[in-house]
Amino acid sequence: MTVTSTRQSSGGVRALYSGNARAVVGRGLLATRSTNWIIVLTGVFEPVFYLLALGIGLGGYIGGVQNAQGDTIPYAAYIAPALLAVSAMNGAIYDSTWNVFFKMHFGKLYQGMLATRLGPLDVALGEISLALLRGAAYGLTFLLVMQALGLNLAWTAVLALPAILLIAFGFASLGMGITSYLKTFQQMDWIQFVMLPMFLFSATFYPLTVYPAPIQWFIQALPLWHGVELVRGLTTGALGPVMLVHLLYFLVMIALGLVFTTRRLRALFLD
């Protein structure tokens, strides 16, 4: 009798994916019926409150701000796209971090899913899509508020919709990727610890030029800044080739998140 040692992680896509992420999304939507709607509404209204308080209130004192092309635009129209990116981010992060953390460690949902025809990539893609949907819903609501307040300055604002899908996808993907490696509540708190300063300092409320150069570089490495700049370009009509960089940034983020989530699901539930 010979003992053939097996190739640990062979398999390829056939071992990882069955092309059925929509079943995971379907399950998520059905389970959403028992969601805590207060939390959802808070997530939707938070950026709207910021917009009203800072954009309209504070903006009244400040007057105009210069955009990337040197045109002066109202302060509210300057921060609104940033808050739009933030609301897409918040929605995506909500599902892909805490919700995923609980499912990974306290429920046996993924274990059950992975005993079926689903592969880890189906589960990753499905769960990320679900988070992305929430991000998109938050973003869309906010975009409508912006429209109602006349803060969309250019026709390219319609492209903000696919942009927020991309942003939500990126944050959902990376959020789940990171969460899948975290084991304790303390580690989860770190996510919050990073999110708040990122929200405040990513050229959300004032241009990056107020910072010294090294800090500018640091912020430019963070995902939210790319999201803010991308959406701001589209809603204010200040477009440029740099948009492609933002786009690429999010595509890489999505890919990384998917790879890490899939790996981790495989390691945890298909050991």
Binding site: M1, G11, A15, A23, A31, S34, M113, A115, T116, L270
Partner: protein, 307 residues
């Protein structure tokens, strides 16, 4: 002989240096009902997880329905029904939705799933609970729902890891009845248990596993015939006297001295009891029974199944 649906050859699973499954070899024929019998930590669940294509083997070969679980996990799992040792029902969904959603994981059309879900609810005697929350079901109902869920894809092989553990006798009998029907319909069953009566009831053939290795293999009757006597005489003398009494029992039959009783293996239990009394011993209680798989296990491992 038809091609086996499961072939395991020197199958091994190691966690670090510890071999949870240590080179086991077996085959399961289509339509067969195959059991893994063994005590806690024997490696039963680990074996089931490898067969279920949710755990990667460390070495050895494993073929399920002509496929290698390392390469074609999703395709293999598409043909399996899995009842894990601990229920993992979706507690955020209601009873019937658990079946519907699970069916979708297999990519089955909604209409097919809906029809099967109703049949399976009936089969599991849960039709009235269709809209209940999973957390509100009793342990036995959860187990039946888990089995119903495992059947939603009309699997060729049903893997049951301790299907009745933690259930009261009545609930166990209901489950056995359901499993027996599946067997009659030709579904291949692979089950683990540490209840010998369950193994005797449900398994055509079984392996006795201990410390990750197979100790014996055969049908329940053959195993008993081979490794035990026809009857067993159980005598008790009181906890501290068993040890001393055993010295005087030599030669009546093979002896097993347990903390609470002594087992004497003999083809004629009554005759053995007469002999015990003749030797001037007065057991507090005595009992003659047929040999069971428990005795086979004791013989093979020197330990009882349920500690």
């Amino acid at each position: 002989m038809p091609t086996p649906v499961i072939t395991a050859n020197a199958l091994t699973k190691k966690y670090k240096d510890f071999a949870a499954v240590d080179g086991i070899t077996f085959e399961v024929a289509p339509g067969e009902s195959f059991g893994l019998l063994g005590p806690n930590g024997a490696g039963k669940s680990t074996t089931m997880r490898m067969v279920g294509a949710v755990s990667t083997r460390t070495s050895g070969d494993l073929t399920i329905l002509d496929m290698d679980p390392n390469e074609q996990g999703p395709e293999i799992r598409a043909q399996l029904g899995v009842v894990p040792q601990a229920d993992n029902l979706d507690t955020e969904l209601r009873v019937r939705d658990n079946l519907l959603v699970y069916g979708r994981y297999f990519g089955l059309p909604r209409a097919v799933i809906a029809k099967r879900a109703d049949e399976l609810l009936d089969f599991a005697q849960l039709t009235e609970k269709a809209k209940a929350k999973v957390d509100d079901l009793s342990g036995g109902m959860k187990r039946r729902l888990t089995i119903a869920r495992a059947l939603i894809n009309d699997p060729r092989i049903l893997l049951l890891d301790e299907p009745t553990s933690g259930l009261d006798p009545q609930a166990r009998h209901i489950l056995w009845d359901r499993l027996f029907r599946l067997k009659e319909q030709g579904t291949t069953l692979v089950l683990t248990t540490h209840y010998m009566d369950e193994a005797e009831q449900l398994c055509d053939r079984l392996v006795v596993v201990d410390k990750g290795q197979i100790m014996a293999e055969g049908s329940p009757a053959a195993l008993i015939r081979e490794h035990s006597s026809k009857e067993v005489l159980e005598v008790r003398f009181g906890s501290d006297k068993n040890e001393g009494a055993s010295a005087k029992l030599e030669g009546i039959g093979r002896l097993e001295v347990l903390p609470d009783r002594i087992l004497i293996y003999s083809d004629n239990g009554e005759a053995a009891l007469v002999e015990v009394v003749k030797r001037g011993l007065e057991p507090i209680t005595s009992l003659v029974r047929r040999s069971s798989l428990e005795d086979v296990f004791l013989r093979l491992t020197g330990r009882t199944l349920i500690e």
